[in-house]
Symmetry: C2
């Protein structure tokens, strides 16, 4: 035997059992997104490196985090690390696209990162974005579609943490910190949930904030309560900053509309939410599983009104959310939310011996015409071995056709789990299987 080969580090194969789960998730997501008026869309697996590098502010630092390569003509390329950058490229290059441009994309992305549990170098992302609308209804709808998608997958306990980059900017103004420090501060307060107050205090000190500034800041970002009251508390504190008030007004709008979209009860205003990415300009959000197992974020996104211009397009507002399919799958596995077979095959057609072979193929063809997924013996095995194979694959039913059955114009219909057989007309078997 020759040497065996493994999958490259950080990548996985999807054998049927896992792929059936993935297909199930993707089907539900597609349907939900399409119901909300988003159309399907795809871009190449790799992009020009220069495009990928621009998002991180340009420069080569990103090379260490992506799969970078050159083609034979020395063009610099890289595997896409998200679905947002390619989409903004397309929008920038196609100003004729009617706005709003509502699209979804479900596909693989690649990041050269440290591998942890559930953290792969090749993974699926799923993005829904509305481009060209600056209405808060667009953001509300993005949240509505994410909520509905998760509900359709069977998720029950989750909340939407909601903040606005403008509120954070107002806060920076209020405590009078130089603007260039704002991203460092955002990143620090974003860790509040994870590492606690003391750790964040230390980090803010290191950034150069005074005790007074830190205390003001932490007081604000830890405001809690019903959405309306948190927003009112926020208003009292930020009343001197124009940008801060604008951000609060936007969130108020989203909260108001959320009642009609049916996700009001899931909203948690969280002024400590900052989200790592620098390109957000308005509302930011994160969907958090609250079933108590410390699973964290299921989806996250926000408004990014400046990104399309950065990639050469006209100034175009945009908002969107990204669902983590790996995380969703992991939770669904953990919580036993999948009720799926190991195989798509519903029936195994047993071939008792060579004399009835023609008949078994005909029966198989009839089942297939009726959209009943089935297999027929291809190994010339005996009856027992054929049934063992069907069992090992998890095929729920078998149809057995012997010379006796052919004479009587029936088939034996076997429930593989119950190990019970009944003689039935093929038409009745088909009717039964179609109703299951």
């Amino acid at each position: 035997m020759s040497e065996k080969f493994q999958t490259p580090k950080g990548t996985r194969d999807f054998l049927p059992e896992e792929m059936i789960k993935r297909d199930y998730i993707i089907d539900i997501l597609k349907k939900t997104f399409e119901n909300f008026g988003f159309d399907p869309f795809e871009t190449p697996a790799f992009e020009n490196f220069e495009l990928l590098a621009r998002k991180g502010g340009g420069g080569d630092t990103i090379k260490d985090q992506i799969y970078y390569f050159k083609d034979k003509s020395d063009r610099e390329l890289g595997l896409r690390f998200d679905l947002t950058v390619p989409m903004t490229r397309v929008v920038a290059n196609n100003p004729q696209l009617p706005k709003p441009f509502k699209r979804y994309c479900i596909g693989r992305v690649w990041r050269y990162e440290e591998i942890r549990k559930d953290r792969f170098r090749e993974f699926w992302q799923c993005d829904v974005d509305t481009v060209g609308s600056d209405s808060m209804q667009a953001d509300a709808e993005i949240l509505a579609v994410a909520v509905k998608a998760l509900e359709n997958l069977g998720f029950k306990k989750f909340v939407i943490n909601l903040n606005n980059r403008k509120i954070l900017s107002g806060l920076i103004e209020l405590i009078q910190v130089p603007k260039e420090k704002r991203f460092d501060i955002f990143r620090a307060i974003d860790k509040l949930d994870k590492f606690g107050k003391e750790s964040v205090k230390d980090e803010l000190k290191t950034i150069g904030l005074s005790d007074e500034q830190i205390s003001k800041l932490l007081k604000f970002v830890t405001l809690e309560g019903k959405p309306k009251s948190v927003l009112e508390d926020g208003e009292r504190i930020l009343k001197q900053t124009k940008i801060g008030l604008e951000g609060l007004k936007e969130l108020k709008e989203i909260v108001d509309i959320s009642k009609n979209y049916g996700f009001y009860d899931r909203i948690v205003i969280d002024f400590s939410l900052a989200r790592g990415l620098d390109y957000y300009t308005g509302p930011i959000f994160e969907v958090i599983d609250t079933s108590g197992k410390n699973i964290g974020s299921l989806a996250g996104g926000g408004r990014y009104d400046e990104l399309i211009e950065l990639f050469g397009g006209r100034p175009t507002s945009a908002t969107g959310i990204s669902l983590g399919i790996e995380r969703v799958t992991e939770v669904m596995n953990q919580e036993k939310m999948f009720d799926l077979p190991k195989t798509k095959v519903k029936v195994f057609v047993v071939n008792v011996n060579d004399r009835v072979k023609d008949e078994t193929i005909k029966v198989t063809e009839k089942l297939r015409e009726n959209n009943i997924p089935c297999q027929v013996d291809l190994m010339n095995r005996n009856l027992v071995k054929q049934l063992q194979y069907a069992d090992s694959l998890g095929i729920p039913y078998a149809v057995i056709i012997g010379p006796e059955e052919i004479k009587k114009k029936i088939v034996k219909f076997r429930d593989m789990k119950k190990r019970k057989e009944v003689g039935m007309k093929l038409e009745d078997v088909i009717r039964k299987l179609k109703s299951i």
Copy 2:
């Protein structure tokens, strides 16, 4: 404005209109494959370079034809150039998989090739394979599923060219050419259809065949007629070669079974069919569009009983076919076989003014609950502009809700193409749209 970026050479974006076509094709293929008892399956986009290089007999020559790169730990990797090699790796590494292992895979592959019309460097492939059965019924079923898939897509005029590597080996034995020249000869006769007899004669001469050998060879590979008679003619010529007779017997079995699988009328025995790949060991086949537009191959494949062992597995027989999704799409475009909308959105919900906004969102939500894909205005446009937008996207219907309609508890239902409106209850609109 910043600089714009294009897609990398040889790759394309799929805007909604194109992606809707692709999704349509993939849905039909998946359903057909599953009906035939094949389960879904996926592998990573890239593989260890050593694995990819082994198929071409090992060595670096393949580097020029694929996207090759190293990760940060200097591991040699390459984007997959087909779906067969990754699948054989999985089978080799998982000897516990019940046999037959029937899987399909629809995904992207990448080849660094010259770009021509309909020849891209990133393209979708679609493979169906049965692993572990050496029965000719497995090959027949592979042909049956390919035929049914094409029929389900709307293809009518196409044939299956059928040959067997064993027949070609018998032929080589018969005309007494050294075995190591066989692949050169296979490649030469494979060009018969494309370049004609004279060109192939020249090539065979260059390979070193005598006039007598060439004449014998060409006489054999140009045998024509009904499957049965071509196979009988073949038998007369190859009767002294054991391997040749074995190949003929296998084809006879496929032809016999094809009657039950319903594709007998599509079979053309073509002894000049060789298929480029070196790894085929038994029946080989190609599905050819015969609608007269010179479109060529829609699908191709064959039996490869030695490949899994080559990749470190136990000796395992296998047979499969690969459909070219790009070619299929191209033909379907050309022949106007798509009858698809430009958007998945069925209804645009018009928001006449801010006072009815709550109501429009509620109507939108109601439509979505009933799985009717819809959009609602997100731009605060006036009525005319909203309808123009719906038109530009190709949305077939609109629902208009004004203060008057709310009072009457109806909506205006507009056929966008006919430009006609009727007042209706929302429930009736939903019923109507569900029936369309």
